[in-house]
Symmetry: C2
Amino acid sequence: MKMMPTLASLDSAANWRKAPAAIGTPIAAIDTPALLVDLDALEANLANVHDLIHAAGIAVRPHAKAHKSVDLARRQIAAGAIGICCQKASEAEVFVRAGFRDVLITNQVIGQQKCERVARLATQARIGLCVDHPEQVRQIGEATRAAGSLVELLVEVDIGHGRCGVADAAEALALAHAIKSYDGNLLFGGIHAFRGSAQHMRGPGERAQAVHAAVLKLTGIVEVLKGEGFSCSTITGGGTGTYALEAGSHLYTEVQPGSYVLMDTDYAANRLAADMPPLRHALQALCSVISVHSGHAVLDGGLKAFAVDQGLPQILHAGWKVNTISDEHCVVLREAGALPLEVGDKVRLLPSHCDPTVNLHDWLIAVRGGVVEEIWPVSARGAVF
Amino acid sequence: MKMMPTLASLDSAANWRKAPAAIGTPIAAIDTPALLVDLDALEANLANVHDLIHAAGIAVRPHAKAHKSVDLARRQIAAGAIGICCQKASEAEVFVRAGFRDVLITNQVIGQQKCERVARLATQARIGLCVDHPEQVRQIGEATRAAGSLVELLVEVDIGHGRCGVADAAEALALAHAIKSYDGNLLFGGIHAFRGSAQHMRGPGERAQAVHAAVLKLTGIVEVLKGEGFSCSTITGGGTGTYALEAGSHLYTEVQPGSYVLMDTDYAANRLAADMPPLRHALQALCSVISVHSGHAVLDGGLKAFAVDQGLPQILHAGWKVNTISDEHCVVLREAGALPLEVGDKVRLLPSHCDPTVNLHDWLIAVRGGVVEEIWPVSARGAVF
């Protein structure tokens, strides 16, 4: 195979991809469309969620797929996280290269190139990985043997998401035995159990019921594994919608919230139990008004600046509302009595889904007190492999 | 303002972003999720659309926002295109840097940073730009004066999209006069008139009616401008849904199709007039099966590999169907009688909307005869400014 080109080599003159601001730039002078991170809100979210989980004696392993930022993940580690989660081999590579030494890939990894990447990473950091099929064990087992490294495998259990995960204890046990057959290069670490759909149930009672059912099922599987000599030192899962429930489960050993630190309108639509701290919208988009008309205005961010799988972004400008979005524009409508927008005005919006929205941008502009305090590249943007 | 960091400097060790294949790699060995470009299909689309427009004596100016690829745009120029369209100042910068010498930015550009970028580009290439408000004229006029360059401005006319564009001849005329006041640095070039919504009307009769109404309106405005001494040397617009109509309008001087070259399932849902060549799906995604279950399987591409504003991608594997998509996965369901998928299998899918899907990827893998023939970086990926 010939040498593969890399973006670094092809794109070396790419200074057109400069950040839309410098340290100290007032927010109103940031070029648009840009993603802002409100540092006060981010720090409040970090403290609220980490404190609650730590108070239960459980570890926090935040999901870096939500922000893909090395700088932001460093703040999570500084706030007590034991390591991070990634979702892709290439994403894990970015974080290991940046110095992270405990990375769990909460996904199934298939294919020779990817397994070799993961096996190589395991020579530099503690790497965990999920499996739900013997073929996955075989592939990563062969790769770690060849690399002389050790990867810790978690058996993923389906707790109602209907996506990945084994169905029952018998399947989990079969995988544990398969892992054992690569002793020295694979280590059985325990269980991964995440139900994305439970995160977005709107009522706190529904979410509690979903986690309760999951804990019952997992407890049975853990017992069966233990009876066969497979101790689950790690039981990991949970997210921004349910983190307090896993933390209080007396079963999970660590929790993996991701969106909590940035927040989006989809998670904000969850109703919280009375004793839960509300999380703040640290992530906001800044757009410019590029065209104005009698009843509408046009903003300079569209489908290439906002993911819309969870709905349109929400504009933070009184009396205006996002009506439609196209590749490069949002059309916002003026309600009766609202003050007009002018060409050149800058407005803020709340994204509906932070993970795929951040992945559309090269930069997160961290702001406080009306000015830019830090500039963070979206380090693992586009790490799909 | 301090020096702004650039991704090139921060990301210089980014060889993790390597291409998922090398020249000569068999398709089955390409790492996933990847975007494939079927070169036979692409060449057929290029020939069909360019030939039809050229036969009407009209110029083709393809929209590079659809593919963001310098390599693909070079093929469009080789197939007779007179230049390209871009949608953003930073996108235009990528193409000018790569040697393109005639770029029309089919958008309003606002803000000092962006206007300075455009004015600077105009020292190296012929740059066109749209306006629909005097403030836009003022900003680019001041920037070109400072840079000593000349930008050609097109007055955008709203022909029913309800987004950007002036409403009538009086507004168009006022802008033409504003442009004239920057004589030597701004040039009145004519009219830009594009109706995105008309591109996706399913019936050929509806689309013909929409373009007919637009041509009537534009003809009136062109006459008024001419009467005041403003000759429209360029009248530009149209897209993949209507290109033959603008080509046959006896008014438009150039047409701007973008998606035609790659195609997606949304455009494929348009019913074509009997004499129109059908376009082929040159763009396909390749995904791996990472997890299998009794009635479903899981693919390794999700919302970070597919834009879903126009619906889910369509899997090209008999008896299987995409049911749900999440950040990193598609869940595909097996219909009765379908052959099973196995962990490690690779499957192809058709994206629903090519423009924002390409923008999610670093690479287009050009294939022919079952192997990789060329590897194209998505040169202007993420050029949102």
